[in-house]
Symmetry: D2
Subunit: 414 residues, 4 copies
Amino acid sequence: MRTGTWLIGARGSVAVTSMIGALAIRAGLTAPTGCVLETPALRERVRPGIGDLVFGGHDVTSVPLEKKAAELAGSGVVPAALALAVKDDLAAVEQQVRPLPAAATQAETARAIAADLDRFRRDHGLDRVVVINVSTTEPVPPPHPAHASLQALRTALSGPQPGSLSGSLSGSQPGPQTGPRTGPPPGVEPVLPPSSLAAYAALSAGCPYVDFTPSTGARLPALDELAREQGLPYAGHDGKTGETLVKSVLAPMFAQRNLKVRTWSGINLLGGGDGANLARPGANAAKSASKQRVLPETLGYLPQGETRIDYLEDLGDFKTAWDLVTFEGFLGTGMRMEFTWHGCDSALAAPLVLDLARLTAAAHRAGRSGPLPELAFFFKDPLGEVPHGLAGQWQTLCDLVTDLATALGQEPTP
Amino acid sequence: MRTGTWLIGARGSVAVTSMIGALAIRAGLTAPTGCVLETPALRERVRPGIGDLVFGGHDVTSVPLEKKAAELAGSGVVPAALALAVKDDLAAVEQQVRPLPAAATQAETARAIAADLDRFRRDHGLDRVVVINVSTTEPVPPPHPAHASLQALRTALSGPQPGSLSGSLSGSQPGPQTGPRTGPPPGVEPVLPPSSLAAYAALSAGCPYVDFTPSTGARLPALDELAREQGLPYAGHDGKTGETLVKSVLAPMFAQRNLKVRTWSGINLLGGGDGANLARPGANAAKSASKQRVLPETLGYLPQGETRIDYLEDLGDFKTAWDLVTFEGFLGTGMRMEFTWHGCDSALAAPLVLDLARLTAAAHRAGRSGPLPELAFFFKDPLGEVPHGLAGQWQTLCDLVTDLATALGQEPTP
Amino acid sequence: MRTGTWLIGARGSVAVTSMIGALAIRAGLTAPTGCVLETPALRERVRPGIGDLVFGGHDVTSVPLEKKAAELAGSGVVPAALALAVKDDLAAVEQQVRPLPAAATQAETARAIAADLDRFRRDHGLDRVVVINVSTTEPVPPPHPAHASLQALRTALSGPQPGSLSGSLSGSQPGPQTGPRTGPPPGVEPVLPPSSLAAYAALSAGCPYVDFTPSTGARLPALDELAREQGLPYAGHDGKTGETLVKSVLAPMFAQRNLKVRTWSGINLLGGGDGANLARPGANAAKSASKQRVLPETLGYLPQGETRIDYLEDLGDFKTAWDLVTFEGFLGTGMRMEFTWHGCDSALAAPLVLDLARLTAAAHRAGRSGPLPELAFFFKDPLGEVPHGLAGQWQTLCDLVTDLATALGQEPTP
Amino acid sequence: MRTGTWLIGARGSVAVTSMIGALAIRAGLTAPTGCVLETPALRERVRPGIGDLVFGGHDVTSVPLEKKAAELAGSGVVPAALALAVKDDLAAVEQQVRPLPAAATQAETARAIAADLDRFRRDHGLDRVVVINVSTTEPVPPPHPAHASLQALRTALSGPQPGSLSGSLSGSQPGPQTGPRTGPPPGVEPVLPPSSLAAYAALSAGCPYVDFTPSTGARLPALDELAREQGLPYAGHDGKTGETLVKSVLAPMFAQRNLKVRTWSGINLLGGGDGANLARPGANAAKSASKQRVLPETLGYLPQGETRIDYLEDLGDFKTAWDLVTFEGFLGTGMRMEFTWHGCDSALAAPLVLDLARLTAAAHRAGRSGPLPELAFFFKDPLGEVPHGLAGQWQTLCDLVTDLATALGQEPTP
Ligand SMILES: NC(=O)c1ccc[n+]([C@@H]2O[C@H](COP(=O)([O-])OP(=O)(O)OC[C@H]3O[C@@H](n4cnc5c(N)ncnc54)[C@H](O)[C@@H]3O)[C@@H](O)[C@H]2O)c1
Ligand SMILES: NC(=O)c1ccc[n+]([C@@H]2O[C@H](COP(=O)([O-])OP(=O)(O)OC[C@H]3O[C@@H](n4cnc5c(N)ncnc54)[C@H](O)[C@@H]3O)[C@@H](O)[C@H]2O)c1
Ligand SMILES: NC(=O)c1ccc[n+]([C@@H]2O[C@H](COP(=O)([O-])OP(=O)(O)OC[C@H]3O[C@@H](n4cnc5c(N)ncnc54)[C@H](O)[C@@H]3O)[C@@H](O)[C@H]2O)c1
Ligand SMILES: NC(=O)c1ccc[n+]([C@@H]2O[C@H](COP(=O)([O-])OP(=O)(O)OC[C@H]3O[C@@H](n4cnc5c(N)ncnc54)[C@H](O)[C@@H]3O)[C@@H](O)[C@H]2O)c1
Ligand code: NA
Ligand code: NA
């Protein structure tokens, strides 16, 4: 039941918080607060358990995990004592984090990524490896004809056109982290954005793929074809951890009470690495689009108002979001609601990463392939035709857990 | 299909807003915003429709409906133009609002109430009359042995012990509205508080009873017995219109995400007649108790914190509630959320009164008797073993609507 | 003591609210709430009084004042009964509102404006006329060499280069209200933006000039020269009515307590005509710049964060602003404060317009010429080297009132 | 220039935060953020400096300072590294903290307190010792005839009537900390509450006295007489650190703008030792009274609304206060403002304790005796006829600093 959890962006805040948390929970040092599969309703029903997860990953930076852990402790995301207590275990994970490969063509890069995944599985005797993207959000890539079919994609990736995993990201404007530059000459876009190349490599290597970011990931016809061909499930997009989570319960409330929402405006103030990246227009647009979807889907119409994201370095890893909702009641009476959410994004995201690794592994084991719309509960911008209210998503998740347990023969977690 | 809606407290804010709204909707002057049975999911599925409702009621004050309507227009609850447009129709309702009877014994008072209900039904050729309590919240009454069985109750009510409908309310401390005083000598509590005497009279007269307030109403073993004996449904308690409504979606969100709520504190600032009454300690205690129930029921534990209610005359009919929730996430990280709700209580309550009249009438028609736990969606303190999260309550309500439609043969609304 | 108050933008929300208010106060129908000169500290010390003000003005729209008054009543800015009560007086003001002149050159346009001012003064036997700009905020105009001296300006205005009052405003992107188009060919900017041409015309006609908007107005060396030459005072910029007002008391509090403000972010959500205009990038930039100045001036440094302005038509004439301040205390402890301001902008601005008319008239009468920095209390972006904390501005204002009273011989208000 | 700072309640949160901070600032380990005398306007103008302060004090608990320091570090009030860095210096202070004396009569207790003060002064060769009360807030004591004159007080304290320092506090309901019980039999109130006995002892020993709590302290005619007789200054009451601080700038803003405040309601949610004590009705009442005074004093009238204080253990040393202000503007338009303050009370209070020690010492040195109303800036409930707006208090403070510098001959801080 040992299950690999391969994180793209393994040296980032979400990744390292997930690792520290899993190690500390396994060591019995802390409770699995925030882990959905550990609520009374779902506890002990999904295998692998948190203790079965084995971590590795890719990143474009080489900042040691230990240094990142110290930073997270310094900014209050992780208790300093806990970071210290799992120091040795984290050093072992450090051995499994590799620089993101970069070759002359995207096809070669993908092969190098897949080789890393194979080696990880073999070296640790893992039943399976789930690849989860928790790297920097990319801008929406330009459309490319090769996205439409697997055959066209294979040709395009291997063809003469040069490609580099990080090309798209670092192409026009240098971001906070830049990957190796061996790709296309400036101005030429690679066939796949980094997240999709990672998905391509993962699926090619027989690994399910989950995208926790708003990036493209496996969300292309060619990659869906690949997943089904390989009999692999995939999931996404964009972990739902703050303002959108709250929206996904408030919007259904207004709808069910037949209260007409006139305006819904929000502002998200955040620091941290994710914030720095989201201050870049391309990434910001990708994220904002992802955040607004819940309203029309649950209300049946789009109220006036926008969701803004502002970066304030001094806020550190905590985020403050404020939303104002104005609505109309009986006989047109105007009313209003506002809320402030003050959360630690990495602490909200990390336990969901553990849940997603476990659920996707179990789905794979149960023979599921293609998208996993039942995981909509975890995402801002879920795949497929799914409920967008949190309650409906919760029900769907509970049903999935039951189905998987049945399919897998209900063995007790060891 | 003409259905009587008899309001206890017929001259109050909620009652008069309901009447004006129903008349305006019937006249096609306004949309049924806020009416749950008019959401796309439930529209046209429950008969009677809003236009089938015929209003009457009891009150202890004699302020004319027209005067109250002008007050509501002045304070922004009802558009002045709308109040004007339904003036004549409201004058017709005025004829059906009678002073609350008060006799030497509670048994006689109950008979007088029932006689008023009978006359209303006969005079208007109504299929049935639903009695809904929207009068001033009472303090919790002292327990009485006669509450335990119908036989004991009948004996106690008719016996020599004097009783008066408004005795309990006006007994110790004079409230904003005081009923007629023919009851027991000061200090002697009547057998039933006013809301329960109204329920007793309604059920005796063959009318379903709904309590929109936190008062005792039909919530006594003796009255449950009476309802079943008479084959009548009843429902309650305490319309869920503001802070508790929001709690009923946020608390499940925290629970499903396995986030540990440490504290949940709230303060409700309100004016209006209801506010003035809730400033009295007895009523305040009854309401506060009703408001807190949702947390332990949905979280599985009771976080620290209290819900306060403060009366500020200058706020008028609008209420501002503020809640602070502190919670703990992954690895113990502390986070917080706060919300402000600024609503017009009467505008939030009135459309629910129309929904409840329609649903209870349909349930009666379909042969339901005893409590209607499926109406939990509408109440802060619902009857029976029911979900306390709004989503579960919504599902239960949708199921009820489907069941009633099946039972009643799906005739289209006229 | 009869004093003309000539409003540029006389048919706008602020203008019409000022007029209705002044008429209603003069008629004894309402109290002068919001008028600074009517606080206990300053009451009866400045002449002219509110009752001495006589209104007229220019606008580019021809929507009747009565129609605007009805709109303001409909949206809750002005009580409907009050609007009705001053109907006849407002009809008299209507006669004094003229279309903004537009001629072949800016010099001619200015002469036409001045002629309107002269006629107004003569027709009503006014002691003096104060011109106040409450028209749509303009984008910041491009610099022009003729702004530097009066002589250069006169040459440029009369020279062959064509100019039009509304050219700058309507040049690139058509705004909500567009003025007459007789000016320069598209792409050629006029010498002066509309607000400065109005200031030029006013000062030329012997009238003090006040700018209640962030537009350029009299804030050019050439116009300062003109004001001094004419012995006329001028004042501005940008009425301080909401978020910036609050900032101007909170920022000094943090400074005096030696608490280090790390971030200060704000968002303003507003509807109305002003909001529609501020949604246009040029005007938005002008306003945002004006709003942020208070922080560096009072704190001594600029904290991280921005002030955003979003237009939401559905909010109507009310504005909601939310600000988040994070700060550092003793030993580096992080703390935070947030506030929500929900105000009616026109109701906040209108009484200040009355105050400014009275104070500027009194300053003129007392022989003041050039900028009036002592009016900083009223503005977001005040002229001159002045305190930026509200308390210092208040003190300066009180001192000015005392000086003027002394200079003018303390006559009691009639 | 070495100046004793003797803290009553020396083992509490405020006291220990003050000590750690002063030691860390003296060692150059941190900046004096939050210290008013270190703002650019006042820097280097008052001697003694922070580095001149020598700490000692009384407490009824014996929890070591080091343990309290660890607690403060654990709850985020003090950085752990800083607490560690001043460990040795704090151990030296530990030697100067003595158990609160308790003798058979209050006169004897006072003599024992004074003896401790004398010894402290002598042992350290201090120029003077300022006594500051930062102990648990007491309930308001019952009036006693001996409070009216020094002579009556002396007689009453020494007379046969038994008295105990902690009697009043611990009399009726046992508090979180209880002092030694040698006093009057249960039910008999001592002549002076603990804070006043401390003031009596301090003044008798030639030490200025400052009360940072809402307790009675030196605020009795008899003690004022004693202070003047001894030529000693005293100051108080109740450090202004959160909600009231904000009120003291917002209320003048509303007043100066002539906006009519209709309601002002607040709720303070706090944990910590102070919170636990304020949950007791007597102390809560004393504190709430102190908090509301600013409104009538600055507005000229008392708006509707109350300030509530609720204890929530789980909030720890941080406090969240929420205030709602509803106000009326021009033509009666209703508007609203709300704010949330999330502060660390001890971090806000501690630097003020340092400021007060320095200012009171300088005032003593300059020959001031009796109340120091110029310190109103620091207090919720200041002594004397003083401005209640923060800006006026700031001006008064700046003037005092200038006066003291002049009187003391402007020597530069060493
Ligand atoms: N924290 C949340 O609540 C949350 C919620 C939803 C989505 N997300 C998304 O999760 C992602 C991670 O967030 P974070 O706070 O950990 O950000 P972070 O900046 O701390 O970490 C991102 C990591 O990705 C690495 N990286 C960048 N490009 C890469 C590439 N091409 N391949 C491999 N690694 C690469 C970076 O070097 C960095 O270590 C972001 O995209 C964010 O939008 C986070
Ligand atoms: N508005 C809401 O959002 C809401 C939500 C839940 C519950 N409620 C409850 O609904 C009730 C009505 O609220 P409201 O705002 O209309 O109050 P209200 O004070 O305007 O009206 C109450 C009416 O009841 C009458 N009354 C008092 N005692 C009576 C008696 N014994 N018999 C008959 N009439 C009597 C009064 O004279 C008054 O006309 C309250 O109990 C309130 O707590 C309201
Ligand atoms: N309301 C406030 O609190 C406040 C505060 C500070 C500044 N201001 C400024 O006051 C101004 C007026 O605000 P409002 O809410 O009344 O806006 P509004 O849109 O209701 O009114 C503006 C009026 O100006 C007229 N106008 C446009 N261009 C003109 C021109 N060239 N000459 C003459 N008239 C012209 C328009 O036709 C309109 O009638 C705005 O610039 C606004 O930014 C308002
Ligand atoms: N922190 C703030 O922002 C703030 C603001 C204004 C006033 N205050 C007041 O300052 C005081 C201290 O607050 P804290 O948070 O440090 O509280 P705390 O509970 O942490 O400390 C109080 C200390 O006083 C001691 N004590 C109790 N009775 C005593 C007595 N009779 N003699 C000597 N010591 C005694 C206790 O043992 C304890 O160590 C409180 O009265 C509080 O109301 C605090
Ligand atoms: Na808030
Ligand atoms: Na708020």
